[in-house]
């Protein structure tokens, strides 16, 4: 594999990977975003449902509170009848300052009543305990509220109101609350699960254990006071993200495969074209090689014939000369082709450009003169450059022979050398028909020839400029094309090392 081919292959690979990488990156980011969105939605849903369940429980307290407020409006004078007012009232107390009016410990009490009074002792001693848990307003003590005594194994739940200096409190059965929650809780959230826990103990679960596999927690809250030991948890299925990632990745992979294939297809087409061109070149170079030997013979015998013939044989001598010149030209053409096909080794050396240019002008003057053309040279006195003599000569010859071939009617060719700060420009300008700008790119392609009146009837391989450009690149230089009017200027720009 030629280095050229491997280079184009690596470029193709880089492009493929870049595009695939881009798709993968942005695709994945989109998927991530989608998953995050779903996750967020699921969490919002979970929060809503948790709040719903929380409201359901707190509503139980609110209902009692409302009822007790009403009862207190109708408060009978006999404290002992307070208890019989509502089925939900388990016990009652009436407190005035630090004195318990009911249950009245100076009267005989049942065992249960004695326990109740004992339980109230801390509140009797320090009534502000009742609202000590609410931190919102310290200056203004609230006049009613819930209170919970958590020290006992079974919490004691109280609703109290301060009415004209008397604090009336109702105890509601905590177990009753548990009982009502267990019975009334009826949530169905499809595959999702809601749990109500009291002090870490499971009270309600919306689905049996066996259907709980692979659920993840989406949210959990503690209820507000007085039920701060209560927790509501919500669990849902995480499977949706897997599906998004799964299908998403599949889609991305498909997209990447398609893009990869397209790029690869382009690469294949490109390499096929270059291979075809290479085959052409190989063919031509082989043929040229085969032609070299018979051509040498032809030239040799044409020269011999020329020497043998004297000036008298006017006709014959002219024929022999034509054969010799034409075979020489043919030989040059073959040389070009071979040069294009197999580039010889680079041989950098200091070159005196003056000498070189003089030689070139000497070589080309006869054929120029034959067409009535002249070469005008303008160059600095002393100028030399490090380069490969053969290749330089080849490039210059190409420029000059092009001018000779296609711009003969311009009569003049300007050869200039200009020394710049970093490079040396060697320019050949003719005064012919010039090259249309859109064709400039094409002329450097192998075997391309401008189809016009100029090229009509002029022999050429179509690879002269291609070779010249290759050679210029191999020397670290470049070929520029300018369009002065009339004509065209080819500039060989070489770096001054």
């Amino acid at each position: 594999m030629s280095p050229r081919k491997s280079k184009s292959l690596s470029i193709a690979i880089v492009i493929i990977f870049a595009v695939i990488g881009w798709i993968a990156y942005f695709g994945f980011r989109t998927l991530e975003h989608e998953v995050l969105l779903r996750h967020y939605q699921a969490q919002t849903l979970a929060q809503t449902r948790i709040a719903q369940a929380g409201a359901f429980i707190m509503n139980w307290l609110e209902q009692r509170a409302t009822r007790f407020e009403l009862l207190m409006e109708l408060k009978p004078n006999d404290n002992s009848t307070l208890k019989t007012l509502d089925d939900d009232i388990e016990d009652v107390f009436v407190l005035q300052k630090n004195k318990l009016l009911y249950p009245d410990e100076s009267q005989p009490l049942t065992q249960k009543e004695q326990e109740w009074a004992r339980l109230l002792t801390p509140i009797v001693q320090e009534p502000s305990l009742l609202y000590g848990h609410s931190t919102e307003s310290e200056e203004q003590a609230p006049l009613a509220g819930w209170f919970v005594i958590n020290e006992m194994q079974e919490p004691v739940l109280l609703y109290w109101r301060n009415k004209n200096g008397e604090v009336i409190g109702f105890r509601v059965s905590y177990v009753r609350l548990l009982f009502d929650v267990v019975n009334a809780a009826d949530f169905h959230f499809g595959g999702d699960l809601l749990r109500i826990k009291e002090n870490g103990r499971l009270l309600y679960q919306s689905k049996p254990d066996e259907q709980l596999s692979k659920l993840v927690r989406l949210g959990a809250i503690h209820l507000p006071y007085p039920l701060s030991t209560w927790q509501i948890e919500y669990e849902g299925q995480p499977a949706s993200t897997l599906i998004i990632y799964g299908w998403g990745s599949l889609f991305l992979l498909a997209l990447m495969a398609i893009v990869g294939l397209v790029v690869f297809r382009f690469y294949r087409e490109y390499t096929q074209t270059t291979r075809l061109a290479q085959q052409q070149v190989n063919f031509v170079s082989q043929v040229s090689h085969e032609l070299k030997t018979p051509l040498t013979n032809i030239r040799l015998y044409a020269e011999l014939l020329k020497e043998d013939l004297s000036a008298e044989d006017g006709e014959g001598l002219r024929y022999a000369e034509v054969i010799a010149t034409e075979s020489q030209r043919l030989s040059r053409l073959i040389q070009n082709v071979l040069m294009f096909a197999r580039m010889p080794k680079l041989n950098i050396q200091p070159i005196n450009l003056q000498t070189l240019i003089r030689q070139m002008v000497d070589t080309f003057t006869p054929s120029f003169q034959a067409k009535g053309m002249s070469i005008v040279v303008s160059m600095p006195e002393q100028i030399s450059i490090n380069s490969d003599l053969d290749r330089l000569t080849q490039i210059m010859s190409n420029f000059l022979s092009n001018a000779e071939k296609y711009a003969a009617k311009g009569k003049q060719v300007h050869l200039t050398i200009e020394k710049q700060a970093e490079h040396v420009d060697i320019a050949v300008r003719d005064y012919g028909a010039g090259i249309p700008e859109k064709e400039v790119k094409m002329i450097f392609q192998p075997f391309y020839r401008i189809k016009s009146a100029i090229t009509e009837g002029v022999s050429g391989t179509g690879i002269g400029l291609t070779i010249a450009r290759q050679l210029a690149e191999s020397l670290g230089g470049e070929i520029l094309v300018n369009h002065p009017v009339p004509g065209v200027q080819f500039v060989l720009r070489l770096k001054q090392s």
């Binding site: 905590y174 177990v175 548990l178 009982f179 019975n183 009291e198 009270l203 049996p208 254990d209 066996e210």
Partner: protein, 446 residues
């Protein structure tokens, strides 16, 4: 035409009701007795006041409709024989009920499921099919939630004239939700307030007998230790006989003690003592069974030949035979004497025996405590001592003698069981026995 028919029917119903009352509407036989009605002057010894209630015979065809909720543990520990027998028992229950009876079936593991919502028993085949389908064991034991749902279902159609009953079946420790004896007792009280009794059946050696007995106790239901699942059917039959023979409900016995009479404690059945007032509630009374309230009192001091009031006893209940509320009232007095001989001869043997039996039940509770402390030998000793003391009671009446003998031999069987069986099993048997004695239930022990 229409009018006359109404008049006739009214007349007829008048005659019928009159003839019914003329036939003496059956009522609960109530007896109030004092262990020692004649007291030695200037002494203050413990005395016992017994209010005995005996249910009348009931025509089986005229039994009250039953509102039954079956709460079945289906946790994984019930797998195998237990759930099968429980299923069979449930199916048997369905078959024993009539179209007028209400039934609901609740199963619980870690969650609760009402597999048959409370409704009249109509399509038995379908109900049985539902039970069969929904009793596959799984999960843990959410007893609180299960029982809550049971109470909820039974409360759906509460009527005065029907017998409301929950049968709770479990073989394990409650391990989900509230599990303490206190909390489940509260739950039982909620049921009791609604007039629903909970019968608890503990299967095998794994359940918490204190918890199960407390639930039954606070709701005035029965409690039984089902050692082998195969016994379940027999226990169910017994339970059904009880439920179908309820003759009175919501019985309330209130004893108002006279001045200077001090109430000490209630033996057996629990109640409320406030000052000189004592109140005991019974959820129901079964046909031909005696239940009693036994109060330990210290009478006032008195002079010879003096008669002082001791207490006034009031009883009220809903008579399921006449569908009316019956009341009963009686004043009790004691007489004082100087002769120990006279005191002795006036003693009521039956009351003495019952108080001794109840004291033995208290000793059984103490034996359970000793067992919990690992003192099995001492526990046996306590049981043995109380049995011997009971035996030694000077009783002449054959019926009372028989009752004492039954209790003694039961006690001895228990002592023997303690030597033979594992601790968990013996403890459960002891608990069951003590529960039944305190509640005056006939024992289900084989």
């Amino acid at each position: 035409m229409k009018m006359s028919r109404v008049v006739v029917s009214m007349l007829l119903s008048c005659v019928l009701s009159w003839s019914a009352s003329a036939k003496m509407a059956p009522s609960v036989t109530i007896k109030t007795e004092i262990a020692t009605p004649i007291i030695l002057e200037n002494t203050q010894d413990k005395n016992y006041l017994k209010v005995s209630l005996t249910g009348f015979s009931l025509d089986v065809k005229k039994r009250s409709p039953i509102n039954l909720a079956l709460v079945i543990d289906r946790s994984s520990s019930m797998s195998g024989d237990r759930i099968e027998k429980a299923r069979d028992a449930a199916i048997m229950a369905i078959n024993m009920l009539d179209g007028d009876d209400l039934l609901s079936v609740i199963t619980y593991d870690s969650v609760v499921e009402v597999i048959i919502p409370a409704a009249k028993v109509k399509d038995k085949a379908k109900l049985i099919e539902t039970v069969k389908k929904n009793t596959q064991p799984r999960g843990t034991t959410a007893l609180f939630a299960g029982l809550s749902k049971g109470i909820d279902q039974a409360s759906k159609h509460l009527h005065k004239e029907q017998v409301n009953r929950i049968i709770l079946l479990s073989d394990g420790q409650a391990n989900v939700g509230p599990t303490s004896v206190g909390e489940l007792s509260e739950l039982a009280k909620i049921a009791a307030k609604k007039g629903i009794a909970i019968t608890t059946l503990g299967i095998g050696d794994g359940y918490n007998e204190d918890l199960m007995a407390a639930i039954a106790g606070y709701s005035d239901g029965n409690h039984a230790f089902v050692k082998h699942p195969a016994d379940l059917e027999a226990i169910f039959v017994k339970e059904f006989n009880d439920v179908m023979s309820v003759v009175a409900q919501n019985l309330e016995v209130s004893i108002h003690l006279a001045n200077n009479v001090i109430p000490v404690r209630l033996l057996g059945r629990d109640g409320e003592i406030k000052g000189n007032k004592v109140k005991v509630r019974l959820n129901q009374l079964y046909s031909n069974q005696e239940k009693y309230v036994l109060l330990e009192v210290i009478p006032a001091k008195g002079m010879r030949a003096e008669t002082k009031p001791l207490a006034e006893v009031n009883v009220s209940y809903e008579n399921l035979g006449s569908k009316q509320k019956d009341t009963y009232q009686k004043a009790l007095a004691v007489r004082y004497t100087h002769s120990a001989e006279e005191t002795k001869s006036a003693m009521v043997e039956d009351v003495l025996a019952d108080s001794a039996i109840q004291l033995m039940a208290l000793e059984s509770e103490r034996a359970i405590q000793l067992m919990d402390e690992g003192k099995v030998a001492e526990a046996k000793e306590v049981l043995n001592t109380s049995a011997r003391a009971l035996e030694a009671l000077p009783i002449s009446q054959p019926a009372t003698k028989k009752k004492i003998q039954e209790n003694v031999s039961q006690n001895d069987r228990l002592i023997e069981r303690m030597g033979r069986e594992n601790k968990a099993s013996a403890r459960k048997a002891l608990k069951e026995q003590s529960y039944n004695t305190q509640r005056q239930n006939s024992s289900s022990a084989p």
